[in-house]
Structure formats: structure tokens, C-alpha cells
Amino acid sequence: MDLNDLLGTIFSFENYAELLPLVTNSLIAGAILGLVGGLVGMFVMMRDMAFAVHGIAELSFAGAALALLLGANVVWGSVAGALAAALVLGLMGASAKDRNSITGVLMPFGLGLGILFLALYEGRSANKFGLLTGQIVAVDSVQLGLLAGCAVVVVIGLAVIWRPLTFASVDPAVAAARGVPAGRLSVVFMLLLGLSVALSIQVVGALLVLSLLVTPAAAALRVTSRPTLTVVLSVAFAVLSVVGGILLALAGRLPISPYVTTISFLIYLACRLIGWRRTVAASRARRPKPVAGPAPVR
């Protein structure tokens, strides 16, 4: 394969106009996932839970693989797996340390189960691979309805608990003194997180969920600390990554995930650069200007 073939495989825009209408559902699904990922990602960052997200994703993958094997609805399977994992982490992993070790134990178990179910499955192999690395073709109207329904639950749930959850996440001591029920909030948030992970798996796959649930929020936090603006940016970055990824992946033969992850990674790099330049400028501004000494006498 020479370079032209390679480029042709990665970026192909043949028959683009005819293909576009076929993926309208996927684009809507992508936008919904971007919204959910950008919102949930804020708390994944504030609560330092990137590793837990990865763990939930692997159990969600196991659930989806089991559903595939049994001929059940794959979305429901991954939702069930993700919620189970999120509940375990929410109830047992109160401190970050506990959570990390429990995640480390659960994750390989989930992956192993998923691989077992896929090995037993005798259907189309594209289905198998899609669960791990993502796919765009498969979103029909029924699934779109399901995705949208779950997303509505997550968005409304987050809107209700946003303020106290922010308080308990960044400022636990004062929040506790103010009577914020941190324990119950944490479990509710884990369930919403589980739901979001299960949704994201449908598009980017289990291995790359972090690119939707962590990278956009991390990028936003690099450039601003205004609460509203971080949320807006985080959502915008996530939507841009997914929708842009789908549009680029449309005509090629490759899975969607490399496009999505690359876009979100590049956004992150750009934000780091902006943040770094700002820090440099700020420290320059704070440094006292050299005082003009008395002119040398000649």
C-alpha cells in the first residue's frame, strides 16, 4: 500500500453527497453523545475519576458482548454492565484510593468476560470489533430513540444535582458542613456516569470512551476557570470531536474512533498551548520591571 492508497483509505470523499443522508441518525447520535460526554466530563475531572471511567467502560463492554451473544439488544446490555460497575464503584469506592484499586480489579475481569462472550459469538465479526473500537453504521431510529432517552435522563439528572455535586466535588469539607449529602450524591452521579459510558460505547467503543468523557473537559479546564464557560467549551469540544469524526470517517473503510480520538486530542493540545502561553504571559506581567538606575556619569 503506497502513501496515496493510505491517504485514500483515511480520507475518502467519494460519493459523499449520497452517503451523507444515510448517516443522519449517526450524526444526531454523535451530537447527543458529545453533549452528554462534555457535561459528565466536567465532574470526571473535578472528582479525578478518569480511571474509573475506563473500568466502567470495560464492564459495559462485557454486558454488550453478552447481549450480542444472547441476541438481545446491545445497547441495553452495555447499559446494564455499566450501571452494575458504576454502582459497585459508587458504593464501595468512597475514597479515590479505594476506587482506583477496585477499578483495577474490576477492569481486567470485565475485559476477560467480554472476550469470552465474543469468542463464543458466531455472528458477523464487524459487530464484535465495533464494541471495542466504535462504529457509525449501526444507529437505526429505534436505537437513536433509546440513546436520546438515556441522554435526556443524564442531562436532567445532572441539571438537578449540578450545584451540590460541584460543591461536594471541589470543596468537600465546607459542603459537608453545609449539609450536602455527599455520599448519596456520589452514588447518583456514578449511575449517571455509567449511563453516559454505555451510550458513548455505541459510537467510540469501549477502549476509547475517555476521548469523549475526559479529553474535552480536560481541554476546557486548560483555558478557563469560569464555570459556565468551561461547561460550554467542554460540550463544544466533545460535539466537534464526535460529529467531525463521523463526517471524516464516512466514506472511508476505517472505524470511526481514530478520527474522533485524534480530533479531541488535537483540541487538547491546542488548549494546553493556549493555557501555557497565558501562564507565561501572566508570570512575565507579575515580574517587576527592571528599575532604571541612575544614568552613568561620564
Binding site: 441539571a159 450545584r163 459537608a176 449539609g179 476557570s225
Partner: protein, 280 residues
Amino acid sequence: MPAKQNTAEPVVRLRAAGLHFGDRVLWEGLDLDVAPGEFLAVLGPNGSGKTTLLKVLLGLQQLSSGTVEVCGHPATRGSRLIGTIPQQKAFPGNTPLRARDLVALGIDGHRWGPRLFRRRLNERVDALLELVGATGYAERPVGVLSGGEQQRLRAAQALSDDPRLLLCDEPLLSLDLHHQRAVSALIHRQACDRGSAVVFVTHEINPILQYVDRVLYLAGGRFHVGTPAEVMTSETLSELYGSPIEVFRSNGRIVVVGMPDTVEHHHGAEAASHDALAGS
């Protein structure tokens, strides 16, 4: 200060209060009234139950025996009558809050649902920032503030409801002298001007000595209450610690010599109670 204590209904009323963790006794038989406007310093070695006392007042920790009332009602979680200033703890650099957002969370962070009436909230935040002298860095991210700047915001949070009771958990720890003075003066002003009762947990009495009306000294499962002149004496502290301790006064400062680093049988209790206020 006895007159101040007798005229009004006490803000804090502890009766025969005791607290055990397993078979370890933190304190027992504690009767204590704190009057409006009174400044009570709580001293004692690590693990003597100072922070736990604050948790009891906040309704985050049940007493093992006895009763606790705040403004005539049993202590409950999330009381609007209480403001809290915690220990200074650095925020991570990427915390998505500016100084004013942190203060705003202190005002309404416990509420559910999206924020309404932003303008009214902003006005309150501005007033509080001005009260504590933090207007100059209102728009800066909390992650880049110094410890002293942060503790001023903590004071703003704690004063937002004009609390009847102000709880302070080592608020001056790791602050430089200038900020220690500023923050303790803020707390004192709330007691004087607004009549709030102050319960101030500290391991170092000197920065606040000029404001303190009474001292509650906890050590070795026992306690002693009285004015600083009564409690901070060689006799009282030697009796509390069960070992000889010398107390000197020089230039209006109190110097304690011979204090054991920790009180032996309380190691376990410290683990259970020390992690500030969050570990409930």
C-alpha cells in the same frame, strides 16, 4: 465576660456530653454554654476530639452520651445558623471556579437545580468579597490563590448567612503572620459587631489570644474550661496532661514548655476524627 454569658440564651448548650470511639474516651461529662458574642478557643493535642466537637455541633457526628443544642434546637445537619471556616487546603490548579464562584457556592451550593436570580446572588457575593477584603482577586481562579487569600474567601463563605455560630477549624494554619492577623480580626469582628458565638479550634492560642474570652482545653480524656488566665497555667495543664508542664508569659504571649507530642492512648481516635470535617 460573665455578664455577657448570663444575659442571653446560649448559642451552644452541651449537657453531660460525651464521645467515645470504641473504648477510647475523647471527652465525657462536658457541660458547656457559649453565649452570643463569645469567643471560645478549643485547644488540645492531636486526637483529643477538637474537630470532632465541631462535627457534633454541625450534626455530622452523634454524641455517645448527653445532649447538644444550637440556638435552642438539637444540632442538625446543614443548619443555616452555623458558618464554618475549615483548614486551609490548596485547590488543584484546574479547579473550574473563580474566587467569586467559591463564595457563591458557600451561599447556595447546597441547593438543587439550576441557579436562578443570578443578579441578586452576584450582589451578595460582591458585598461579602468587600467585607473580607477580597474584591481585588474576585475574578482569579481559586487554584492560583495563596493560602491567606483563600482563607479570606472561606470567611466570606462562612459569614454569608450572618451565622449565629461560627465554627473555625484551625483556620490560620499555614498562613503568614499578616494573613493570620487579618483572618482572625475578621472572625472577631463577626463576634463583636454581629453577636455571633465563635468556637475556634486551634493548637496555637497566641495569634488569637487578644480576642479569646474562654478556653476549652481537651487532653487525655479530660477537659478544663475557663478564661485564658485560668486555663493556661502550669497547674491546670500539668493536671490535664498528667505530666509536669511549665507555662510562661512574655510580651503578651503564652509559651508552653514540656508538652508531650501526643497523648498516648488517643492514637486511634485521631485517625477516626482528624480528617477535618469532610470525613463524615
